[in-house]
């Protein structure tokens, strides 16, 4: 079995974004999502800096230095795209106007608690950015993450060890091994990658998993 690449995780998450959805994409893996949105769907992308209706990343020579996203990377406007102040941007974010926020995560708990801003390292200043606003404010939070740390310890936990971003906010986890729904009954595995059995997945996960009756194999295209 081969875990998904970052691109494949982004591809899988992109398939579930519906036509017309208003979506904030966090830094890291979520920022790859625009490359994989299925053709024919019109998705409205918002960023904290005060921009909505972002289009594809421009070629370096076409980039306008005044059009950037929350990662301070060049972006573009789709027709219909526009800008606004930070107060209006976080009114959108905090006030429940975004359909989805697709975020990275250090850890997710079986209750849907999210930890994605602070590893507790005393040597570096903790940096929250807009993470807490998004976690609390968007109608639904979906996370993209590696299932385990580089040395194999679980990151989907009974309880988060790192300081929380927000409690009870994650609805779906797209990992490099599986797609998992966070439900009132706990974590339900909707899809797993080929050649990974449930016991192996459970072994890589601290939180208790159950298999969805609709479980299927996650077939991602080759992407890297």
């Amino acid at each position: 079995m081969t875990p998904l690449s970052r691109q494949q995780i982004a591809w899988r998450a992109a398939q579930d974004i519906w036509d017309g959805a208003c979506v904030n994409l966090g830094v890291g893996m979520p920022s790859l999502i625009p490359n994989y949105i299925p053709k024919g769907r019109e998705i409205v992308l918002q960023a904290e800096v005060g921009i909505i209706g972002m289009g594809p990343t421009p070629k370096p020579e076409d980039a306008d230095p005044d059009i950037f996203n929350a990662s301070v990377q060049p972006t573009t406007f789709l027709p219909g795209g526009s800008t606004f102040s930070h107060t209006d941007s976080f009114l959108m974010i905090r006030g429940g106007h975004l359909d989805l926020a697709m975020l990275g995560a250090f850890e997710v708990s079986e209750a849907g608690d999210l930890a994605n801003w602070n590893t507790g390292d005393p040597a570096t200043a903790p940096a929250v950015g807009g993470a807490m606003d998004l976690a609390v404010g968007a109608k639904a939070i979906r996370v993209l993450m590696d299932h385990t740390t580089k040395d194999g310890r679980p990151r989907i936990l009974a309880r988060c060890r790192y300081p929380l971003t927000a409690a009870h906010c994650v609805k779906v986890i797209y990992s490099n091994l599986a797609v998992i729904d966070v439900t009132p009954q706990g974590l339900v595995v909707r899809e797993t990658i080929p050649d990974l059995d449930f016991a192996q997945l459970q072994a890589a996960t601290e939180a208790r998993l159950t298999l969805s009756p609709d479980w299927r194999v996650l077939e991602a295209p080759a992407l890297s």
């Binding site: 036509d19 017309g20 208003c22 019109e42 409205v44 918002q46 909505i52 209706g53 406007f77 027709p79 219909g80 795209g81 526009s82 800008t83 606004f84 209006d88 976080f90 009114l91 959108m92 905090r94 006030g95 429940g96 106007h97 975004l98 609390v136 404010g137």
Partner: protein, 230 residues
């Protein structure tokens, strides 16, 4: 594809429920989106709470809802516009309850709902009749009252132009309460003078982003001249 334009006024207000809180945009009877307000009469919705700056003009719009006994409460700052006889009668008879709120506090309470805030403290109305019964707190030596968010089930607003994403541009003094009401309701409906193709607006000159707008309907300005049309 996103296309928020609906075919007619009935479709624009369809689904409005009994007991709904309806935010009605505009500053005065003269710029109330009367076509939309009156379209509520095509629904069966009763026991409406209207949130607006005033109480409507002599006949159209909010006045017609009052006359047809659809309204049980009005939250506004200025229930005394010339010609507001429909409201005056219903207020005297006790059919329509009134909550008078300072004008800036209405827009701030709407914004609090829009922004996901739980409420705020303001000096406005502290120590006055309108502040009686409100939680009060001394901040930096001054009395402040606590104000709660006002969330709408439906917002009915007027704008000059829209595109199919629901982006809106307002004209001059007609912006007023419309943007904040657009942001503060579960379903926001805009009547506009004109639809423009997507991409017509300069990205830095959109007043209300389409994310706040659910339905758009074109209403000719001539239909809206409340003074001329009885």
């Amino acid at each position: 594809m996103i296309d928020k334009q609906v075919a007619n006024l009935e479709a624009a207000v369809a689904g409005t429920k009994d007991g709904a809180t309806v935010l009605v945009g505009g500053f005065s009877a003269g710029d109330e989106p009367v076509a939309l307000t009156e379209a509520l009469l095509t629904t069966a919705a009763r026991d409406l709470t209207i949130v607006a700056n005033g109480v409507g003009g002599p006949k159209r719009g909010i006045a017609s809802l009052i006359r047809e006994h659809r309204v049980t409460k009005i939250v506004c700052s200025y229930p005394r516009f010339v010609g507001g006889e429909a409201f005056a009668a219903a207020y005297k008879s006790g059919e329509v309850a009134l909550e008078v709120v300072p004008q800036g506090t209405i827009s701030e309470r709407l914004r609090a709902a829009a922004a996901g805030l739980g409420g705020f403290y303001t000096r406005v109305s502290a120590g006055t009749l309108l502040g009686e019964g409100k939680e009060t707190r001394i901040i930096d030596g001054e009395p402040y009252v606590f104000e709660h968010p006002i969330k709408g089930d439906v917002a009915l607003i007027g704008a000059q132009q829209a595109d199919r994403w629901g982006n809106l541009v307002f004209r001059h003094s007609r912006r007023n309460f419309n943007p904040v009401m657009a942001m503060a309701a579960a379903v926001t409906v805009a009547q506009v003078v004109e639809m423009v193709p997507l991409g017509s607006f300069h990205p830095d000159q959109v007043h209300t982003q389409g994310i706040f707008v659910d339905r758009v309907v074109v209403v000719d300005r001539a239909r809206e001249n409340w003074a001329a049309t009885p």
